[in-house]
Symmetry: C2
Subunit: 211 residues, 2 copies
DNA sequence: TGCAAGACTATTGTATACCAAATCCGTTCG
DNA sequence: CGAACGGATTTGGTATACAATAGTCTTGCA
């Protein structure tokens, strides 16, 4: 994707996530083009992507509205992510290399460093957590899985989840990453799958915790 | 999607599936617009869809090439479809209504009628089979699951699979549908999930059979 | 002759303007 | 009060032009 299209995508997405465009709001291409300072062409590209990721829905007459993520839908998101990402972990366990394991170790070391202080460095946690999971998906070497998971792992959801983790839960998350690494070293796909499954499911409950 | 865009999508897809554009071929928007008799705009829409469904890949400079589906990728496709569609069956089992069950029964009756003659009516089989699975996914009531599965259930793959079914296998497929219906009547999600899982996996082996 | 720099070409991304078709909404009339 | 009509909105599509960039080819130099 290119500049204007990316910019439109990011702008519109943040409009939705910031709540400036609450669920049900109608979005028109012209209006969005105006807001983003680009023409309708890249806006249309951006809307297609947002539609695929279910940020927006289209009426039967193709008009665009901000989607409403119900609690049940978020649940389903985590369920699907758990199924697919634990499958990715199993595949990755069969394809893991020492170099990649070293990268995972490095990423998790940075995570542990980030949660060490009294005030955890959430930005670093998020960045390294994203990297950790991205490496696993990459090693899984399944283009389709990558495509699907990309549309399923919404960073804002991850952020909100991490924001609800206390220090103990952040540490436990890092510990689970450590166990995943052990499973990869052992090349034990069942183990990797099980750990990842629990890892995602626990994130769901953290997300659901009343803030 | 609309007329010109759909037409472009169908045209390009058939180009690829018919082998007129073998894997690795570069496709350009202008050329495709010419072939399809539409302008670049709907072609671009179509290319985005085809990219999401992995029919095409983009180089680092965004140029478009026909993708190559390796045997392993088809395997992974069936695996993912098995996971997700059996999950859909489980959800559907918890949400099934008598009306929807009646629709499933009707669809499967047409399937059984289609495979009865000496020369099975494959077109009807495919249409009713598609409908049967579509009803289940619809009853599962998960927009995300629907979106993902839509990109995963490639009709050409289904067609090729059915083409390799002999009469006995077609009958067995219909029988499995019957068992799914039983599971839905019993509202037994585990049963539905298990049957669907085997149903998809067996399709994979039929697909893989040397023709 | 081999190679590299630069010119040229091809292709995509974007903007803009415009039209057609479908749809929505407000108004008016029965 | 409700329904039908008509204008306003909105999207889908076409056409064209231009910028940016990547790929290709040519040519000149060592």
């Amino acid at each position: 994707m290119s500049r204007a299209s990316d910019q439109a995508y990011a702008n519109i997405r943040s409009l939705i996530l910031a709540g400036d465009a609450p669920p049900g709001t109608q979005l028109t291409e012209a209006q969005l083009a105006d807001i983003c300072g680009v023409s309708r062409t890249p806006v249309r590209d951006a809307l297609r992507r947002l539609e695929a990721e279910l940020y927006i829905v289209r009426s039967d007459s193709q008009r665009v509205f901000v989607a409403d993520w119900s609690r049940e839908e978020v649940d389903e998101m985590f369920t699907l992510r758990g199924m697919l990402e634990s499958h990715a972990a199993a595949r990755a366990a069969r394809r893991m290399t020492p170099n990649r394991i070293a990268e995972l170790v490095a990423a998790n070391a940075r995570i542990e460093a980030a949660i060490e202080p009294d005030v955890p460095d959430v930005a670093t946690f998020l960045e390294c957590n994203r990297l950790f999971h991205a490496i696993i998906i990459e090693v899984a070497a399944s283009p389709r899985l990558s495509t699907i998971l990309a549309a399923l792992v919404e960073q804002p959801v991850v952020r909100r989840t991490a924001a609800r983790y206390g220090r103990a839960e952040l540490a436990r998350s890092a510990h689970e990453h450590g166990e995943l690494i052990q499973a990869f070293i052992a090349a034990d796909s069942d183990w990797a799958q099980a750990v990842m499954s629990g890892h995602i499911r626990r994130a769901f409950h953290a997300f659901n915790k009343v803030a």
